[in-house]
């Protein structure tokens, strides 16, 4: 009986508040828009049964999504932004993780905490902090003009560059931590052996360190890539009106256009887009676990 309650309560909770809502997104994605509250005509009535459902099934919203090139552009541009931002995060995060793993042992817990600390502070505040830095009269432009490097302020805020900076900044800990834990386990004598056998420092790094930290690199990249794809806060605060990302499009369809069926269809497609990276990530984690055992 006790065991039953233990399983039953969280199970029912998740079905009611995760699975069913999700099914409703699917259902509304297949509905027509209507000017009412709620603003959609449900396309599916349980009483009518599955056959009726299939008969009146309507992929109109999805066809519409493929016809309007705004959505195509939003998908492609989200993918592009996520790939570029993940690459930058990797290039910046790897040296930091490497230096942490090479730091004296007694420093490491403190360094770890310094990496994690910003992660606990509000995401919104960390994105906001960059608004004051990147704006035309912001600190960065003031500094650059003071040094004489530029004479006119650079326009950074409300461009894709600002979005990249925001993503790298907020997701950097997600990249550093898995790479750090892979590098910390790395046996230093392997690199010494490679160097003794005639490798230059660089080729020892390239041929030994990088391959041995591969699982960390892959895990970190997915941890940045997956949430970036559906990101809303960063593009809407730091990006411009031409910054297209699916998360932002979904938000605007929902809150500004009040087109719930299209918003739901966008959600379904965003999810389909995420399935591949999530499966790949899962496989990488499993491989890592097997390697550890």
């Amino acid at each position: 009986m006790r065991r039953f309650i233990l399983i039953f309560v969280p199970y029912v909770w998740l079905i009611a508040l995760f699975l069913i809502p999700f099914a409703m997104v699917l259902k509304i994605a297949l509905s027509d828009i209507a000017i009412s509250i709620p603003p959609y005509v449900p396309q599916f009535d349980w009483a009518e049964g599955i056959r009726a459902f299939l008969a009146q099934l309507d992929l109109e919203n999805f066809t519409w999504l493929t016809q309007d090139d705004l959505y195509w552009k939003a998908y492609l541009s989200s993918l592009r932004i996520a790939v570029i931002a993940t690459t930058f995060t990797l290039l910046i995060g790897y040296p930091i993780a490497y230096a942490m793993a090479r730091a004296p042992t007694e420093w490491r817990p403190t360094l770890m905490m310094l990496i994690i600390l910003p992660f606990w502070t509000s995401f919104l505040i960390r994105v906001y902090a960059w608004m004051g830095i990147l704006s035309n009269e912001g600190i960065l432009n003031q500094f650059l003009m003071w040094t004489g490097l530029i004479s006119d302020p650079l326009v950074i805020l409300n461009t894709n560059t600002a979005v990249y900076i925001g993503i790298v900044y907020t997701y950097l800990p997600f990249m550093i931590l898995p790479i750090y834990s892979a590098l910390e386990r790395l046996d230093a004598s392997l690199i010494e052996a490679a160097e003794d056998l005639g490798c230059s420092r660089f080729s020892a790094f390239w041929l030994v360190t990088i391959p041995l930290s591969k699982t960390g690199i892959i895990a970190g990249s997915f941890l940045v890539f997956i949430p970036t794809l559906g990101e809303f806060v960063i593009p809407s605060l730091l990006g411009g009106s031409d910054t297209l990302m699916i998360g932002k499009v979904l938000w605007e369809e929902f809150f500004s256009n009040r087109d719930w069926p299209v918003a739901s269809a966008v959600a379904v497609i965003l999810l389909l887009l995420l399935v591949v990276p999530i499966v790949l990530f899962q496989r990488n984690q499993q491989k890592q676990q097997e390697a550890e055992q």
């Binding site: 233990l6 309560v9 969280p10 199970y11 909770w13 998740l14 508040l17 995760f18 809502p21 409703m24 997104v25 509304i28 709620p38 040296p95 930091i96 490497y98 230096a99 942490m100 090479r102 730091a103 004296p104 817990p109 360094l111 905490m113 310094l114 990496i115 994690i116 910003p118 502070t121 509000s122 995401f123 919104l124 505040i125 960390r126 906001y128 902090a129 960059w130 608004m131 004051g132 830095i133 704006s135 009269e137 950097l172 949430p227 559906g230 809303f232 806060v233 605060l237 998360g247 979904l250 938000w251 929902f254 719930w260 739901s264 959600a267 965003l270 999810l271 995420l274 999530i278 990530f281």
Partner: protein, 271 residues
């Protein structure tokens, strides 16, 4: 290996500068006299005063704290139960579905979670307000709690629990007197994680809140959309100070506990 190379020192310095300079600048400008955030006009704490007189922000802060305390507590109870089921539950009907539902919200984009919950609340005719935000936050943060707690349960030595049962404990006594104290650090960090997730959440709260209930992130977001304002800097500084104090205190406490535990273990071995 004890001395840092030149390259490593530089990358650590630059890395931490990149992580902390924006926050430091934000804090410095919260003490700026001028309304213009980018022009320094002397030290002043007037924006903190303005903030304390701003009822809208204070109300939002109060709603946020209520939601965070309630949802993280529910999430901790449900998440610990779920973790227990996952690690100890053995086989039961729909186990794969269950673990899928635990892990899926971790990778689900917030916009989708928010949208789906909103559709549910409208579908069942529940008025959007504090209650719906609590339900939404409990659902996504219980998954984080269960991941944290189950990672502790996996490494847990089961024979201690069995010993308690052999010595005459009832199962619930064994859980209360043996299992719970051992997994307590994980349960507490799960609660803290759920609490900060709730405090921080903008997207899911925006979807699930009604006009009656506005949380602090929603308030901050709508203010910030119009541009930078020193009042928001002051508010951010207060929030950063609270979080930093909390994180540093808990990590110091847990560090001291680890040291004490290690010393006790050593003494036990010696005697």
């Amino acid at each position: 290996m004890t001395r840092m190379s030149w390259f490593n020192t530089v990358s650590l310095t630059l890395g931490f500068a990149f992580l902390y300079i924006p926050i430091v600048i934000l804090v410095i400008y919260s003490f700026n006299e001028s309304k213009l955030v980018t022009v320094w006009a002397g030290f002043s704490t007037k924006w903190y005063g303005e903030l304390l007189r701003n009822d809208a922000f204070l109300n939002a802060a109060w709603v946020t704290i209520k939601v965070a305390v309630a949802s993280s507590t529910f999430a901790t109870v449900l998440g610990t139960m779920a973790a227990y089921v996952m690690v100890r539950g053995g086989r039961f009907f729909g186990r794969t579905l269950f673990s899928g539902m635990i892990y899926a919200p971790l990778v689900m984009p917030e916009v989708i979670t928010g949208l789906s919950l909103l559709l549910l609340f409208i579908g069942i005719g529940l008025d959007r307000g504090v209650l719906t935000i609590i339900l939404a936050h409990t659902t996504f943060s219980m998954c984080y709690v269960s991941v944290v707690v189950s990672s502790r349960l996996v490494t847990f030595d089961r024979s201690i629990e069995e010993a308690a049962l052999d010595l005459g404990c009832t199962p619930s006594e064994a859980f209360r007197l043996v299992t719970l104290p051992i997994i307590a650090p994980a349960v507490i960090s799960g609660w803290l994680l759920a609490f900060t997730l709730s405090l921080d959440d903008l997207v899911i709260a925006s979807f699930t809140s009604g006009p009656a209930a506005t949380t602090l992130p929603i308030k901050i977001f709508s203010a910030v959309r119009l541009g930078v304002s020193p009042e928001i800097n002051a508010l951010s500084t207060i929030m950063i100070a609270i979080v930093a104090t909390g994180v540093i205190t808990t990590s110091l406490i847990s560090k001291r506990q680890v040291i004490r535990q290690r010393r006790e273990e050593q003494e036990a071995e010696r005697s």
